[in-house]
Each structure stands twice: as structure tokens, then as C-alpha cells.
Symmetry: C3
């Protein structure tokens, strides 16, 4: 972790990562946050920042003209799916949208490797969303074209974690030195697991706030401790909110509770309202992977600290960067 200190640090509007374009992701799969070191992140975010500025200035590029993305979603995800489609189109590429897989060849029992080997006859890159853990890695084992994991069950969702980190970097100008508080269901939420792993590459303090039953898994806490990450666990947000720089809220899902009364009570306790935010720093960065239900009140949306819609937009640029990089065109 020490090597990462201050590596990523915004000093001007242009990210001065000084990364050299070396084609390091060309033809590679994007499967897990574990595959990235701090230099990879700098490289990806540098490209993402360039695309952010280009989209704002000119809207769309011809960088991936002639390239085709197969957007293969075995389970629906309007948000992630739309984000990748837009990312490809803003780079001038085109998309084969595949949302009906449950009814088609897969429902006839075709194996994922066969589907992937078919689609790579037509497309240049495959984005895969699949309900089963390990499916992206399995697909990558057979694919000649790059696979980007867009979520495999409770496994990985690396592009979400990358966009979360890019959001923090964009909103705060740096990662090192921040106190990041994660709130809600920390046991089952793959989003917070992946983000915590990425944050562990930097000098941050991680605070976990959750009901006892939904605490961050011990193995993950142990693994991060072994890397020297400073971590704390709490059950009450008020104890840590005043010192929090980034508050990452996740949803507590009703189906996790046998006792519905317990759920109703917790739901309210962990709900962010304008009232709650009075105790927060004036420059807090409030994030959420969306969709959100009552865990962040809509009354908070107009607060400048609410970063969750900007977070969606940053996701576009990160996904543009990943597509361009694996196709060797950044």
C-alpha cells in the first residue's frame, strides 16, 4: 500500500498521471478489481478524464468507428447496459444489444463458452452480465476477443468499482488521506467489497457502518488489515459522520431479514435525510451505486454534496476508457 501514496493526485483540470500509453490493456479481459495496480488505475482514469473532456466538448468521437460491441446481458440491468451502449456509441462504435438470452440459445442449454465463441465471430469486444459467480472468468477462458465483466452474480462488478473510485478522484481531487465511510448492507453488497479492495491500494481510512447482521465479511476485513488498511466498524452513522469525507450508501434489502420489524427499523436508521446531513462536512461526497429506494431521501438530491448522479456520468467515461483500451485504441 505504501507504494501507492499520492500516486494519483489531481493538480489541475488535466490529470497529470504521467501515464505512458503502452497498450497494456489491448486485447485483455477486464474481469476483477484484483487485476489492477495503482499504475493501471492511473492509466485508465487518465483516458477516462480525456474522454470526459472530449464528450463535453464534441459529444462523440470516431475512435471506435467500425468496431462492434456485443452487450450480452443474461439478467436485466438497464443502468449498466445503457451505460455501455452509450460508451460504445460515443466512441463511434456500434452495439449488438442482447437482452433476451434467457429465452434463447442459453435456455436451450447452450454453454456460455459456445455463446461467447459465437458472438466473437460478429463482434470485437463482449460485455457480459451473468447471474453466476465466475461466469466472466469462464467466458474469458474461451474467448479470443476481450471480455468485460459487467457483473457476475455476487462475484465481481469491476467497472462499478472503477467508476466509484474515479468519482472519488474527480470529486475530491485525490484518494490518499480520505476517510471513506461505507453504510448499509456491507455483508452482501459486492459493490462495497470491490471498492474497498481498490481503496486498499491507497492511504485511506475505511469506516464500516452496518447492522451487526450485515457487517463487512471478516475475510475481507482481515485481508485489508494484512495490507495495512486502517478500518473501523460501527453500527451508528452519527458516531462517524462528522469526520467522513466520502459516504458510500448502499441499500439494505428487505429479503435479508427474517424479522420484518427489524428491517423496518433499520431501514429508517440508515436513511440519509437533509436532517442527517447537517452533521456532515460541508464538502462531503455522498455516493450511491443506484438504484436507491428510501436509503437516501429525494430531498437530498438538490444538496451539492449528493454526488450519485454525477457518479453515473463518471461511469460513462470509465466504460469508454475500458472499451477503447481493450481494443487498443486509446
Amino acid at each position: 500500500m505504501t507504494f501507492a501514496a499520492n500516486t494519483i493526485n489531481v493538480q489541475s483540470s488535466r490529470l497529470p498521471f504521467g501515464a505512458q500509453y503502452d497498450g497494456r490493456f489491448k486485447g485483455k479481459h477486464i474481469l476483477s478489481v484484483s487485476q489492477f495496480d495503482v499504475h493501471d488505475l492511473a492509466y485508465i482514469f487518465d483516458v477516462a478524464e480525456e474522454f470526459r473532456m472530449l464528450v463535453r466538448r464534441i459529444g462523440v468521437m470516431d475512435l471506435l468507428k467500425g468496431y462492434i460491441l456485443a452487450n450480452l446481458f443474461y439478467e436485466p440491468s438497464t443502468r449498466t447496459s445503457s451505460s455501455f451502449i452509450a460508451a460504445m456509441q460515443r466512441l463511434g462504435g456500434t452495439v449488438i444489444p442482447i437482452n433476451e438470452v434467457r429465452y434463447s440459445s442459453v435456455s436451450k442449454g447452450e454453454s456460455l463458452p459456445d455463446t461467447v465463441r459465437t458472438l466473437e465471430c460478429y463482434a470485437d469486444v463482449i460485455v457480459l452480465r451473468h447471474p453466476e459467480v465466475g461466469s466472466a472468468a469462464l467466458a474469458a477462458q474461451y474467448a479470443r476477443k476481450p471480455i468485460i465483466n459487467a457483473g457476475d452474480g455476487i462475484g465481481e462488478h469491476p467497472t462499478q468499482a472503477l467508476l466509484d473510485l474515479f468519482t472519488i478522484l474527480q470529486e475530491r481531487g485525490r484518494i490518499d488521506g480520505l476517510t471513506v465511510t461505507m453504510l448499509g448492507d456491507l455483508k452482501y453488497g459486492r459493490t462495497v467489497h470491490s471498492l474497498a479492495k481498490l481503496l486498499a491500494l491507497f492511504r485511506v481510512r475505511l469506516i464500516y457502518v452496518s447492522p451487526k447482521a450485515l457487517e463487512m465479511p471478516a475475510e475481507l476485513v482481515d485481508a485489508l488489515r494484512a495490507r495495512g488498511v486502517c478500518q473501523e466498524s460501527h453500527t451508528q452513522l452519527e458516531e462517524v459522520l462528522p469526520e467522513t469525507d466520502v459516504l458510500y450508501v448502499t441499500r439494505i434489502q428487505q429479503e435479508r431479514f427474517a424479522d420484518q420489524q427489524e428491517y423496518e427499523q433499520l431501514k429508517d436508521v440508515y436513511s440519509i435525510t437533509p436532517q442527517v446531513l447537517r452533521a456532515a462536512k460541508p464538502d462531503l461526497t455522498l455516493m450511491h451505486p443506484l438504484p436507491r429506494l428510501s436509503e437516501i431521501s429525494m430531498a437530498v438530491d438538490s444538496d451539492p454534496r449528493a454526488a450519485y448522479f454525477r457518479q453515473m456520468e463518471y461511469g460513462l467515461y470509465v466504460r469508454m476508457a475500458l472499451l477503447a483500451l481493450v481494443l487498443g485504441k486509446a
Copy 2:
């Protein structure tokens, strides 16, 4: 209504509306027919007519190159959805097609405002079809990008009404002075309600033909009367067909009837056949919003007075015009 007289009048192949491009719809939402006055209509139809000629001559334009449409359909509508996709593509733009909303974030309970605020991170304009009345207005309240209402339940479907009016203008060369007869289910049909409101801006005679149980709602009739529109109600088409210039047929839906025998009987009474059309004017314009079942016999399709497939095509140009106008690129 008097102000509208002869404002829209085709004298040559080029619509000489004399509208000045003033960017009046740039960044605006298209939510309801009530938002348009006669000058707006002239403006939209002028652009639609230009696109009609351009599509016939060159097929596709680069006007919206680099622009992305999020085509957000919460309920299926092959016709409307395909029409907007084609409209965007013929203008050189691209589309994020979203038809799976029922299974995805919305089914997890996400609010429409959140979905819209997410999609506007990726797209430049959003077309929304939603089963609930008022949904488009709700979306527009939160959106920074233009929303085009493609139907919100039994509420509004303004682009359908605009294409209907554009069809009449194209087929007849004028609106004023026409006798327009609406046939079928006038109680529940949002199509005829919206079209009647638009026609009320002109000097027309409206004739309603329907079973007693499916008459035009009294409030709408009263509102149009207050604007001075000449209206009549009948139950038999034969009484008014000979004097009809435009016959707008709608479907009578079986599920509206408790007594199935009554339905079967009415279904036949209001069915347009070659035999029925013998009593019509030789230059009648026969319209239908489609899909149609038995209310217009397929034997009528080859009659040059059958305008319903041309009506579909006019819809393409009207939707192209709306997309270009709200994006400020007409």
C-alpha cells in the same frame, strides 16, 4: 379558433408556412398536445415536410450525428418504438433501446425520476412510454434533457396526434374547412381525444360516430364547444359518411363490453368494407392509428383512399422533426 383560419395551407409541394426557425423547441419537453398553438404546428410540420423530402431523396442525414436517444419503453409498442428509432437513425443519431424496464431497476422499485436522471447522463434526449398517466410530466420535472412523451397510459400521446394532423395536412393540403368524422370507441381512445384538441385549433367540423356507451366524453365535447368547434354525435356511420372528408377509425375493444353479444354486433356495424366505402367521397381520407383488427377490412387496403399506411410514414417525419427541434438542430 378564428385566429387559426387558413394559417396552415399547402399551396405547392413545399409547405409555405413561412415559419422562421427560432429555436423555440430547443431543450423543451414534448408532453401534451395542449402545449402547441397553430404557429408551433406550422413550425413542426414545416420541418417534418423538409425531412420527408430529404429522406426520399437521400435516405439519411448527419444532422444528429453524435447525439444519442434513450428510447425508454416501460410497456411494449413495436410501432411507436420502431418509429422513433428509425427517426433518430435517419437523422444520423444513435439509440439506446430500453424495452426491458419491467424486469430491471424499475422492478426493484426505482423511481422514474431516478431512471430519467441516470439516462440523461448517457443520452441527449429521452423518449418515454409509460403506462401511468402523468409519468411524462413527472419525468420532465426532473430532467435536464428533453423528454418526449410517447404515450402515458390513457393520458397523452402527443406525437400520435401530431402525425395524425400532419397526415390530414399532407393528404388534403389544408385543415380548415374539412369535415372530420371519428368512428369507434370515442370514450376511451386517447388518440381521438388528442386529435380533436388539435383540430379545435382550426376551422373544422367534427362528427362523432360511436355506440351510446362509447361516446366522446362530455367534458371534452364541452371544452371544444366553448372554443366554438362545430360538433355532432351519431350512432350510424351511413348518416354522415357521404359528407365526410376525413374518416378516422378506431378499434372497439372487446373488453369494454360486459355483454359479448353486444360487442359482436357493434364490431360488425362499425367495420369499414369496400361496400361501406361506396357511399364515401371519392377523395375521402381514411385513417386509423393502427394496429387494426376487423374494424377496417383488408380488402380496403388497396383503395387509394386508405391512408393508414401513409399515416405511419408521416409519423416518421414528424418524429424526426421533434427530435431535431428539441435538440436545437432543425
Copy 3:
């Protein structure tokens, strides 16, 4: 059949069919394999081979820029649907993807002719997949724009048969003189029926291997015999594998069997494994329309004789050729 001898024969990397571009498919429908003679096939494959080389060299063309394909799938087929989308996009055209037909206007009872006449207002060519035999021919009867049949129930699937034949030609360099063995469910498989009809235009030997209950239909065998095709029927693959040049495997579907034990037994008997292939020619071409289950072991995939994924890719070029030809742009 004699006239076909050696007409299609690869002598160099460029197919020297010597076909003259005469616009013969411009504006035409592609409905059935029966519509093609040997010269048509040479013409289509010549264009397909050109596109194959162009895609390898430059990825995408602008040949169909400004053209729109309505990809109308009444039943899901990820493979065929994706293939047509990619084909259109690689030619520079755009696609209206329609996969939701079962929920929309058709589910309201709209007739296929109306749907087709609506879509041709928006698109330049329509690819149709429909569960009912004869649907493509019905659609073509009403359409002013070209219809390409992408499968109508147990009826026709002409683009599959064309890509199968193109695969044989590409892999073997010729059609005449080959021994083609078809294995599996020959009774219900439309794929083998269509391919057999196309192969009957050439000087080939056809061997059928299937359980007695799933033999090639007698009418088809009789029709091919009348054209002078040399045909044999077997129940054991081992009897004919050593002399087979092209082995076309199809799936035996469980639901065809009343006796599940019989199915389990047959499933294994007709399964292709590395062990089975030891008895095959070293230059065998092993094909399968995909999706495959256990009828070809995944252990065979790395065998260079396994041509089924290359077969998928050839499908792209054949479909590109068909789209370009019916639009008069080859």
C-alpha cells in the same frame, strides 16, 4: 444436376466464379432455398467472399450507410439475430432491433401483413423470424421492401443453408465430389432438409445417419433421388465415417422421444468425441448449426477439423452479401 458440375470451385484466395454483377437480387425477397440455382449461389458466395476479405482487412464498410434494417424476431434467436445485426453494422447500416413482438401489437392480434407494412415505412429491408410456416412468404406478398426469411417454424431457414454451403465451399474449396454425412435428427431438422436441397444442385454423395424413428423424410429422399442425387441411409456412424468428407451433426431433441431410456441411449451413440474422430479422415470438415449440447463433446473444439465456429463466422459474410444484394448495393 449435371449442369452444376464444377461450377463453383475455388482455385485461388479470390473466388473466381466469374459472376457478373447484374443486380439480380435487387429488391427481391429471400424466402426459400428453392429459389436459387447454381449461378445464384455463385453470385451470392462471390459477394460473401469479397466481404470476408474486406472485414478482415478494414472491419467495416460504408456500403449501406443510410440504410435501415428492421430485425423482426417473433421468437428469440440470439445467434441469428446477432448475426444479422452485425452484418448490417459491418456494412455501415443501422438496425431497428425488434424482439418484443410477442408482447406488443402482434399480441393485440395485429396481422403480420400490417406489421410488415408498418415497418417498411421506417426501414429499407426486413429480416423476419416467425414461428409459423409460410409466414415469410405471407409477409413478402404484402411488402414493398425486401423480406429475408430468418426462419419460419419448421419451414425454411434459407440463410442457414446458404451459410452451411458457403462453409463447405470455403473449407473444402469445392462442393462437387464430396461425401456429406448428415447425423442426428434428420426427420425434424429443417437445417439438414434445406442443406440437402442445396447440395442436390451439385455432384455430391449424401449419407444419412439417424435412428430409424428420425430418418430423413421419404418425400425429400424421393425428390432428391428424382434429381439423381446419390443417397444412403445408415443407423451407425462408424459404418460411414471413414469415407466422409463433411460431417454435419444435428441435435437429437429429448422431447421427440416417448421413451426417455431410448433417448439417453441414442444421445450417447450419436455423440462426437475425440475417440470417435480417430476413425475420420484427417481433413474432415465437422459442422453443426449450433447451439450444440452433448452431441459434440467440447473436447473436440480444439481439433482443427471442428469447423462449427468458423461456420458461424461464414454466416456473417453470407448475411452481409444477402443484405447488400437485396438493397442493390453489392
